[in-house]
Symmetry: C2
């Protein structure tokens, strides 16, 4: 293959496969997003072997989920999220504790080594907000109360997941640095809270003044992109995921950004989000399931991963009524790329073996495939009153 | 640096530096595009050393110039280019022959080895249409006759450059396969002509029917992207650059695509074109200029590169009048990434040494920096009648 063809060919394969399977799934009455993830499984090493994970695809996937969360942030006001922050905190905390002990307990009962069991619990903690956000955004449901709770809880969940991972990694290395973890957690929480609380106000004061002085073409988009990348970098240094920074950047801009920024961002997200979804599918790996025992463990862990998040987060949101509790519970189920990252860290630390790695990746991909149809059921067609709320924004 | 920060940090550095220098150049009354290229020189290994060329940046740069040419193609109708194809052919042929012999001759007179001299000539052949296209597109000048001649000539130029490179590479390897080169050239010309001639018609017949049956969200954009990547891949296999395929894809869609595709594509181009421009600057390398002799040769070659293209292409377009001849001559001057690719091939073949490589890269970057201000002068403010033509499209 001519080397100049590599990049357009990879773009073609990923994009066309994603859209083709999305079309097929839409026709079957299923969410297109599931088709896009399965497109990754299909063209990936497990089935057709047309494409393997690569640095380039990984980078586009990272950018894709950043732009997805930025785009979602643009449609969400920080003040609206603050209103549900109490419930969201409860949802996030319950949704971290229950899956952690469920995963740990099941592995321990199964006879797995202690550290490996604890690490599996840690991998079951973090929700992949990207999947739920994409489903909600594509159906115009971001303005609903349950959606706001999910988004807020997912951001908190990311910080809590960081703490759990730090604790567990410390145990794996033989020494838990509680002070260090406390400082890291404080920095992460502080950054997130500070940007969420004061970001919008700062942007509203600063952006129009800066923009008015610029002679650059598309200066508003240029400033928005700079904020997006800057907050993503700061988020990583503060200890949270880059996508949390991307989400906060979008939210900070949500009250000032004109239609133009949303439009241009839409284009990037439309192009790159399939790379995020296909990327999840590409990592799907059945080769770990050599024996029936591993397969059975994977099945049990999958059921536990779904039920523990659903029940814990649902109960956390119960005071909002049963409908919202079910929606929130379902929305927190997908583990997506986050579970896979934890599994990768465990593998690198030498704490988990190849079969537990495969089990966690299986759980991550499967929860991600299960969530969109469940979300469709849980949210259903919006009621007349909800439609009105959506319409009025 | 945390590895999760690498991608957003590279995005931030490239994008923010490009836009900052673009703003400064606009304020100085200079084209912003020159600032964006110089941003690459500034943050690159030569000055601040904040960023070095990498696989990831290279991929984004390739995507950037693909989307740039696709976006330009969307604003150009194939039928309009066909009208100027005679003049464009003359411009392209003259603009290949004269710079080739100028480069070869100068190096030979300078006492460089024969093959190295011939290779330098070959590196002076190909115009980087990306730079001129970006200047013309950003100033809304794509509809002018000179712009159409430049775009058409640049596409032909790419095919001719391919032939020259194949001939010269064959000489370097000790055996020129004339039959093979003839077949390659025929395939390249056939592909380009065929898609340009029948692409629009095919798209007009096929696209609306396919699109009407799709349930996918943003189905028009999905089809457009698929066509873009597919034609880019085919172009490479047919022997021309991926960006020629991207341009042809845009042009094929120009009569059917609705505003939505242009809007979404705009977003991607706004984000990624700076990576193309900064990428050119990143490769700027003064370390080759150890001695005053090399520096003098570089200066002479630069003057020859500018004058030979300007005079040859200008004369080729002379029958369109002096104004258009000057515009076309200036528009064909930038060598950009194409000259650098040829230099890289020469280095890999072992035909040229490090100092000639550096000289060619210097010539490529310098012609690219010179062209935008000259274009601004040559096109000036549009006359009243031209404004009217632009307005009527």
């Amino acid at each position: 293959m001519p080397s100049a063809a590599q990049i357009p060919l990879a773009m073609l394969l990923v994009f066309a496969a994603a859209k083709l399977l999305a079309e097929i799934f839409e026709r079957l009455g299923q969410p297109g997003i599931v088709g896009e993830i399965l497109a990754g499984v299909l063209i990936g090493p497990q089935v057709l072997g047309w494409l393997a994970p690569s640095e380039f695809l990984r980078a586009l996937s990272d950018l894709g989920v950043m732009f997805l969360l930025f785009h979602v942030g643009l449609e969400v006001k920080a003040s609206e999220l603050m209103k549900v922050s109490g419930t969201a905190l409860l949802v996030a905390v319950a949704g971290v504790i229950v899956p952690f002990f469920a995963g740990w307990g099941i592995c321990a009962l199964w006879g797995e080594p202690r550290l490996e069991s604890i690490f599996t619990g840690a991998a079951m903690v973090a929700t992949s907000v990207g999947i739920t956000a994409q489903v909600l955004a594509s159906r115009g449901l971001l303005d609903m109360r349950a959606s706001r709770i999910i988004l807020t809880a997912a951001v908190v969940d990311d910080v809590l997941g960081l703490i759990v991972l730090a604790l567990v990694s410390g145990m794996a290395k033989g020494a838990v640095n509680y002070l260090g973890i406390g400082l890291t957690a404080g920095l992460a929480l502080g950054f997130t809270f500070f940007v969420a609380r004061f970001g919008t106000r700062t942007v509203r004061h600063v952006m129009p003044r800066v923009q008015a002085r610029l002679r650059l073409a598309e200066s508003e988009f240029a400033l928005a992109m700079t904020l997006l990348f800057a907050l993503s970098v700061l988020a990583v240094y503060a200890g949270v995921a880059a996508i949390v920074g991307a989400f906060l950047a979008g939210m900070a801009l949500s009250e000032t950004a004109e239609g133009r920024v949303t439009e241009l961002t839409n284009g990037v997200a439309e192009l790159l989000v399939p790379f995020f979804l296909v990327g999840i599918g590409l990592h799907f790996d059945l080769s770990a399931f050599a024996g029936a025992g591993t397969l059975a463990l994977a099945g049990v862990l999958l059921v536990a991963a779904v039920l523990s998040k659903f029940v814990a987060c649902g109960l956390g949101a119960l005071r909002m009524g049963r409908t919202d509790a079910i929606r929130v519970g379902v929305g927190m189920v997908p583990r997506g790329e986050v579970g896979m990252v934890v599994a990768q860290i465990g593998l690198n630390l030498g704490v988990i073996g190849h079969n537990i790695y495969g089990t966690i990746v299986f759980m991550s991909v499967a929860t991600t495939l299960i969530a969109p149809p469940l979300l469709k059921l849980a949210f259903g067609a919006p009621t007349e009153m909800e439609r009105e709320i959506i319409r009025l924004g």
